[in-house]
Symmetry: C2
Amino acid sequence: MANETRELTVELGDRSYPIYIGSGLLARTGQLFAERGFSVKSPVMLVTDASVEGLYAEAVEKALSDSGYKVTTAVVPSGETSKSLEMLDELVGVALQAGLDRRSTVIALGGGVVGDLAGFVAASYMRGVRFVQIPTTILAHDSSVGGKVAVNHRLAKNIIGAFYQPEFVLYDLDTLASLPMREVRAGLSEVIKHGLIWNADFVSWCEDNVERLLGLEPDALGYALYEGCRVKSIVVSRDERENDLRAILNLGHTIGHALEAVAGYGVLAHGEAIAIGMIGSARLATRFGYDSEIEVVTERIFRKFGLPVRIPEGIATEEVMAAMLHDKKFLEGQMVFVVPTAIGSVEIRNDVQIEWVSEIVDGLREGN
Amino acid sequence: MANETRELTVELGDRSYPIYIGSGLLARTGQLFAERGFSVKSPVMLVTDASVEGLYAEAVEKALSDSGYKVTTAVVPSGETSKSLEMLDELVGVALQAGLDRRSTVIALGGGVVGDLAGFVAASYMRGVRFVQIPTTILAHDSSVGGKVAVNHRLAKNIIGAFYQPEFVLYDLDTLASLPMREVRAGLSEVIKHGLIWNADFVSWCEDNVERLLGLEPDALGYALYEGCRVKSIVVSRDERENDLRAILNLGHTIGHALEAVAGYGVLAHGEAIAIGMIGSARLATRFGYDSEIEVVTERIFRKFGLPVRIPEGIATEEVMAAMLHDKKFLEGQMVFVVPTAIGSVEIRNDVQIEWVSEIVDGLREGN
């Protein structure tokens, strides 16, 4: 492949790590392990899901065995339901039987679900072993920066987890070619989010490059992923454990998570749900007296990318509001929201009135 | 109570925390929360077990509510079986329903099982909330220093966990008065271990104070716990994540864990199993050519404390050896053991011959 490999460092002191973005990178996995001095004596566990396994697992396995590593591959069912304590239990069993020791590495090959699950396995197996991420979706650019790993509980999403940084992230653009169009759009929603919170120029660039991005043109895609990861890594570097600044990354997520929960996880893709959520946040900005152009641009860009901009039929406002009560972004009973103050800039408000949110959710329902 | 409160700091940079050892401390829980600025707006979850609940939960609950904190108590069954992912799942459910948020605190009131379980809940709930330990056993002096928290997997003990430091540890000596004699002895086994690895004078002091310690004389007990915690905290401060030095704390644990597993968890108390294990390690010292006096003193002190010094009948050497293969202290296929070089000093050997261990285990069986 002719296009360049981009490299970015997530700065976190002694937990800093690089992200490599480019084509043909899977074949370099073993070499990267060796360069970092990972011992061939300690077995590696490759965690992937049923949809990714057949496409890319063999390339990674081969690259590792060519460099002398012993790999055991664990395949979990595709989808959010694999982010469970039951699956953690199962993967720990596989790791034990494969003889993984404290110097072993757990690799996540797949999207956000596999990354979150395998990351929590790496964080908790023997109280922490090495973790490497090989994302195969656009959306996973988000979860591959910042070390947030978790599984779900029947009462709440992502509620059992850790902050656990990978050794490195390998983003092979070739793996994105197999993504269904709907996932491409949903993944780009989170890329655009990083522009909306931090970089107005990048938002314009995305609007100007809709066709190239939806067409998965490697150079455009590589740049967009690089920029998305870069914004996120700046925020994460300044607030690793989500004490303050990092909360801005939740733009659109309060409403978005509630929509996902009510629709049933997986019905509305995460990126779709937060696109609607970001439009909701932009409407909140108007309520707070900020430029109504924010609302216009936010809705326009998501429309251009073919993302949903209204809540699908059959979802009641009351259900969405109720689901928000279980959202962990409600601290000490206060209603906290990330609100845009301009395109490329946001603030955290803890004085958001519940009625406003309820009215906005109502106004976002299909047909309104 | 007239005797003094001892205070010790576990030095871990910005994760440093104090341990308070003395009488009448439970009643001070609320005051200590307030002094540290824990918000009364965030609910507290008190995790305890069925045996401890009736004895001490009310005192802690009262101390906290008197200071304005809202407390929810979760009671788990007594015993090792509670250290499971199922129980983690259940406690996270309780925490969610009680409205615990990211500024909340999880308290462990009980022995090592409760500490390990509640500690892993605190480490993983919302990716980490505050953790406070109130140990009610002598053995828990060990697990309350160093932040090792974990649950068990059906294939291995303590295999799913984290390194997670508490905000503070409250050791109320009054709670030890209700301990069965067998648990007192077993707990002191781990106290003596800290002498054996680090402080020969303390080992002599223990031998000279057998009666006072077994009689739970507060001043002797307070001093022994202080010294046990102090030795452990020195080791942990120098090696928080168990990369090297911290391994010396595993004196007697390789054989000990295997004995516990084979006997069935809970049949042989942890402190009993490691007493036998430490005698095994002392015999290994003799094999390596160290002073045979080590073996003599080690066996003599455990006899004085009324601890088992031989493997109970019905446990076959082969079973013990097989159980060791699942022990995580075997790194990269090498057989690693902590071996005494004198009383109060140990080294880590990775050149231990399996036949030696097998012969020593055989020699330690009842009747030999």
